[in-house]
């Protein structure tokens, strides 16, 4: 009997104490949604580090696969149970802004140590709409030309002189194409990725998405059509995405060159350590241009823990945290000052090219109807590449569609 009481008393005291500390220091739990894979060595350990660093705020990250992310986020928002903050693919960002989902971060940024000028303009623009800033760029990437040095040498091409113009790119692709090897691999899949890959060519030729029936645009699409017709590029590119279609072609030596992004660097280094490859800026035409991808961070309007979510951003973007975070995440740095200082990007020849290319990276849109515009573009690409329509007809139809969408 006595024994029992001895046990009960401290237990009760402990329980009281436990509940008391719970009452005093209940951390605010911030719901944070993204499609960043759970094995990403950047995001999740960094969130853990933030949670350990203080006791007031706990970031609870939820992973939703990319294919289902837009659906789940939209359903949660319209259903009235949104997270506090989320990462959204930047071409979709304007749609969510138009939906009224994201908080205008202007007042918070006014009191922040960073301003617009501290970021690369492309990523910063991607979460801006009608003069207001609704997000902070979180991750960014761009497209460059990857090329196989051994295949270059076998074809009698100088690997120190990658193609600099469209004409050179075509003639290199012709020389590199042989039985079982395509000269070049690109992506023309029926999704945002297809648009993403062709837009640089449109922009290099001085075209833009609001004049898709211009000669500059037609020429840019005809270039791709000719590559397929001559067999320099596989017909299958209309079903090949960048990650599981284009990258393996290059990685396995089935394509001598490819256009792809920084996400390929680590897997190629890990999975094909013997592959002798380099990267070069995309060849230009009238000007230099490349695509800009990435995700933006936004706080949901009227979120319960909006302030706490902003505290996380303030902590994350401190110089001592952000360089390491971006490096581990596998993205290019979003601020020139960080890129100049951090040793990770400085010495690496691949990242040197990527960072140089970043200067010419333009965002898609931003436009709340970007998904429709993009669909018109990739549909035109597929029509021309499969020979369903001529490049001219396909783009004329697309231009009409874009006009309907944007009027």
């Amino acid at each position: 009997m006595k024994k029992k009481r001895v046990l009960v008393l401290p237990l009760a005291a402990l329980m009281l104490l436990g509940s008391a500390t719970w009452l005093v220091a209940a951390p605010k739990t911030v719901q944070f949604w993204s499609y960043v894979p759970l094995d990403n060595p950047g995001l999740y350990p960094t969130i853990e580090k933030f949670n350990q660093s203080q006791g007031d705020i706990k970031i609870e990250a939820k992973f939703i696969p990319f294919a289902d992310f837009k659906r789940q986020l939209t359903v949660a928002i319209t259903g009235g149970t949104p997270p506090d903050c989320a990462l959204v693919d930047n071409p979709d960002y304007a749609s969510y802004i138009a939906m009224g989902v994201f908080e205008d971060l202007g007042p918070r940024i006014a009191k922040w140590e960073y301003k617009e000028k501290d970021f690369y303009p492309g990523p910063w623009q991607s979460c801006r709409w009608q003069g207001r800033q609704y997000g902070i760029p979180f991750e960014t990437n761009t497209l460059v030309l990857f090329y196989n040095v051994d295949l270059f040498q076998q074809a009698g091409l100088d690997p120190n002189k990658p193609p600099k113009t469209w004409e050179e790119l075509t003639s290199y692709a012709a020389k590199l194409t042989k039985d079982g090897v395509f000269g070049l691999s690109i992506c023309a899949v029926a999704s945002e990725e297809g648009t993403f890959q062709w837009l640089p060519f449109l922009q290099q030729n001085g075209g833009d998405i609001f004049h898709l029936d211009s000669p500059a645009a037609i020429e840019a699409l005809q270039l791709w059509v000719d590559w397929i017709r001559k067999g320099y590029v596989s017909k299958e590119i209309v079903n090949m995405d960048q990650w599981s279609g284009v990258r393996p072609q290059f990685q396995n030596g089935v394509a001598a060159m490819m256009i792809n992004g920084p996400w390929c660097v680590k897997p190629i280094r890990d999975e094909a350590p013997d592959l002798n490859w380099r990267v070069a800026p995309l060849p230009g035409r009238k000007k230099q241009a490349s695509a800009m991808g990435g995700v933006d961070f936004g706080i949901i309007k009227k979120a319960k823990n909006a302030d706490a979510a902003w505290e996380f951003i303030k902590w994350l973007y401190k110089p001592e945290n952000i360089a390491e975070f971006w490096q581990k995440f596998g993205t290019l740095p979003l601020m020139p000052a960080i890129a100049a200082k951090a040793p990770y990007w400085k010495g690496d020849p691949v990242f040197d090219v990527l960072l140089e290319q970043m200067k010419y990276a333009a965002p898609r849109g931003p436009h709340p109807k970007w998904p429709q515009i993009s669909t018109a573009i990739f549909t035109a690409m597929q029509e021309a590449l499969t020979g369903t329509k001529t490049a001219e007809q396909a783009l004329k139809d697309a231009a009409k569609r874009v006009k309907q969408i944007t009027q």
Binding site: S95, M99, A190, S234, K235, N239
Partner: protein
């Protein structure tokens, strides 16, 4: 007696409630949404404006819609024709007694167990124009002159996704038809054989008429499952190239979750439901005709 019946309904109440919550509510909600102005800009408003048939007109007036509808019907009818005939033939085969028949019949179920995404990846490789096994075989057999990029050509892409779906669906047809075939009394066949009926005659005069209600239900379920196809096509081609494999569910998904035209997406779903209900109504009419014949 009456009292008992009332109690019986109470016992059923939870099930009814469940059905109403899980089935009727989303359908009714979707139906209402299809008459509302619900786009990216308006979806978060507490009261959405009713705009009559505008969403339906937008969906039906889309220049893409006739193609989408045609794709849906070609896909569904084509798949069902081959799934059913091959499935029926296999069911007849497995009704014969031969060694390993049971084992092989069980093996057929594999097609139903493999996840859709795995099937789509598998068939994307098989059908590839650059290194696909199917091309290799067809070229070696001199049935094709050179490799066809099945899923990359708008003319053949629909055939490509149909091939994958037929492969999935055959065993479903076999499984539903086999018990019906087994339940036909052997004495009927013996009697017919004595009267001089050959195998073909026996099939058309005994097997087919006695199985007609099984066949109807198999075709109906097949139609419903196939018409609603989404995952397989989404993973194989995403509806492309150039909308060659864009079917009604894919279009509804695109409207809602790519374009944020929620009202139009809902309208497309209602149209899908209406088509399926029409098919079910046809089935009920056929079924009642049959029952009358039997009685």
């Amino acid at each position: 007696m009456r009292q008992e019946r009332v109690v019986g309904y109470w016992w059923l109440a939870p099930a009814f409630l469940f059905l109403i919550l899980m089935l009727a509510f989303p359908i009714v909600f979707n139906f209402i949404l299809s008459f509302q102005d619900a786009t990216a800009a308006t979806v978060l408003r507490p009261f959405k404006q009713f705009i009559g048939l505008k969403n339906y007109l937008a969906v039906l007036g889309d220049p893409l819609f006739p193609l989408v509808l045609r794709n849906s019907f070609v896909f569904t009818i084509g798949c069902i024709f081959f799934q059913f005939t091959i499935g029926f033939a296999l069911a007849l085969l497995f009704n014969l007694r031969f060694p390993l028949a049971g084992f092989l019949r069980g093996l057929l179920l594999v097609t139903l167990m493999v996840p859709t995404v795995v099937v789509s990846v598998l068939f994307r490789w098989l059908l590839s124009g650059d290194f696909g096994l199917i091309n290799e075989a067809l070229v070696r057999l001199h049935l094709l002159k050179r490799a066809v990029a099945w899923l990359a050509e708008p003319k053949t892409a629909l055939v490509g996704v149909m091939l994958a779906n037929i492969w999935i669906g055959i065993s479903f047809n076999t499984m539903l038809l086999a018990p019906g075939i087994a339940s036909i009394a052997p004495s009927l066949y013996e009697a017919a054989a004595i009267d001089g009926a050959g195998p073909v005659r026996r099939f058309f005069s005994i097997t087919l008429p006695l199985l007609s209600s099984n066949i109807l239900i198999v075709l109906l379920l097949g139609f419903i499952y196939t018409f609603r196809i989404f995952g397989l096509i989404y993973a194989m081609t995403g509806g492309g190239p150039v909308n060659a494999t864009n079917v009604l569910p894919i279009q509804a998904y695109r409207l809602s979750f790519s374009f944020f035209e929620f009202g139009q997406g809902a309208a497309a779903n209602v149209l899908l439901l209406v088509i399926l209900l029409a098919i079910i109504a046809l089935y009920l009419v056929l079924l009642s005709g049959e029952e009358r014949m039997e009685s």
